[in-house]
Symmetry: C2
Subunit: 255 residues, 2 copies
């Protein structure tokens, strides 16, 4: 059995955090399973979050009208992406499993991790118009969101004020991970550990430890829909139309 390679992209400022403990647990258990584990500690690396022309070494094609996706695609083709991006791309390419460990900020990833997605998942390297979703470039790689929340689980229930967590995660799990082809494993959600008693936090970490034992054998849920693109059903549209600003408003102003 070949050694499995795991990449943990970790985004918390403090080594004393619950996120750090969750990251450490993953490193420990997965190493004990003979995995080679690499950690990208984004804050410690002072990872650059913003997508700028500095991500390209040498000349940009059109500085008058700089277009990030096109310029970085070209730079990737020619091996002119900045070293920090290239290094992350190398780690990602080698990985069989990628774990994103972060505290949820504003219903998604912290900016430093969004910057990792914006800068590392370069057009050409991570996706093309032809290669995405079920035909995505990373379809052999498993990915998992592991994160802490500030809110209690009940607030993310279908009738909770935050709405269903599946809706909250949709742009990340479908829009980023599945788009690049990743086999998305069920998210590991640590509900409000900061508000939990020490025993509560220990129990959450124990459950994570248990899950980690079999994590490499888990299958991405996307596979269950057999290579089909997931269409949003009409119910979703109708429901969210009631809750969020209608796109009809738009066609009105566009015509």
């Amino acid at each position: 059995l070949a050694e499995k390679k795991v990449l943990i992209v970790y985004a918390h400022q403090s080594a004393g955090s619950f996120s750090a403990a969750a990251k450490e647990a993953a490193v420990e258990v997965l190493k004990s399973k003979d995995c080679s584990v690499k950690v990208s500690d984004l804050y410690a690396m002072k990872f650059k979050a913003t997508a700028t022309a500095e991500d390209i070494t040498g000349e940009v094609k059109n500085s008058e009208h700089f277009r990030y996706a096109e310029e970085t695609k070209l730079a990737w083709d020619e091996g002119r992406l900045s070293a920090d991006i290239t290094e992350e791309q190398r780690k990602l390419q080698e990985a069989d499993l990628v774990i994103f460990q972060f505290p949820m900020y504003w219903f998604t990833v912290p900016a430093i991790l969004k910057g990792w997605f914006d800068r590392v998942l370069t057009l050409g390297f991570a996706f093309t118009k032809e290669k995405r979703y079920s035909n995505g470039i990373f379809k052999k790689t498993k990915a998992l969101l592991s994160f802490t929340t500030g809110s209690q689980e009940t607030m993310f229930s279908p009738t909770g004020i935050n709405g269903d967590m599946n809706v909250t995660l949709w742009p990340l799990q479908n829009g980023i991970l599945h788009y690049c082809g990743f086999q998305v494993l069920a998210p590991q959600i640590f509900w409000a550990p900061a508000d939990a008693a020490p025993e509560g936090r220990s129990a959450m970490l124990a459950a994570w430890n248990t899950r980690l034992q079999g994590l490499l054998d888990e299958n991405g849920t996307w596979l269950l829909i057999a290579g089909e693109e997931p269409p949003m059903l009409k119910e979703v549209q109708d429901t969210l139309r009631l809750l969020s600003p209608p796109l009809e408003g738009l066609s009105a102003v566009k015509t």
Copy 2:
């Protein structure tokens, strides 16, 4: 009639971009309506995207276990937030209308704009456990997402491979803007201007110009649900359960 104050938070690297043109159109039309318009040009400002202890001047309370939300809440109470954050908070507090103008990156805002949300919407300043959603601190302020996409509109239709745009925008419009109380206006979506012919782009800008004429009189769709928190309906949950990794997987590992 008192002069209206507008803040445009703008996130594009290039003055030659369609996003820049859309921002300029807003500045021009709204000034012609006797609004005072301020623009936060995030890339030009080299706006810091990452949430770190440097956002606090003076000592942090617990450097061993640095918790960003708690530390910045305290710093805000004591007027010890970094100058760049304080300046953005001042602009936001004065504004009657906030327009976020950006190119959609990975189904949400670019990291530099996510950093603006992470750093400027401080606990205490922008929300508290008591003051959020329909009781949110910014309930007198209107907010609008105005953005370009790389994908065509059909890809974001309910049956499109990206899924419904309302679902994609949910974490931004409900999770950030409505959470802070903002009256969320219908999003202004410029569909794939880069792939459009010059006439197509002109038509999009003309439509935006037309909408801008009456923008200050538009009402947030959230108001239509009469101060009620928007619960996610069961259909949404059931639908997305089919499409995204099930949370059941989780309870299984948590117990």
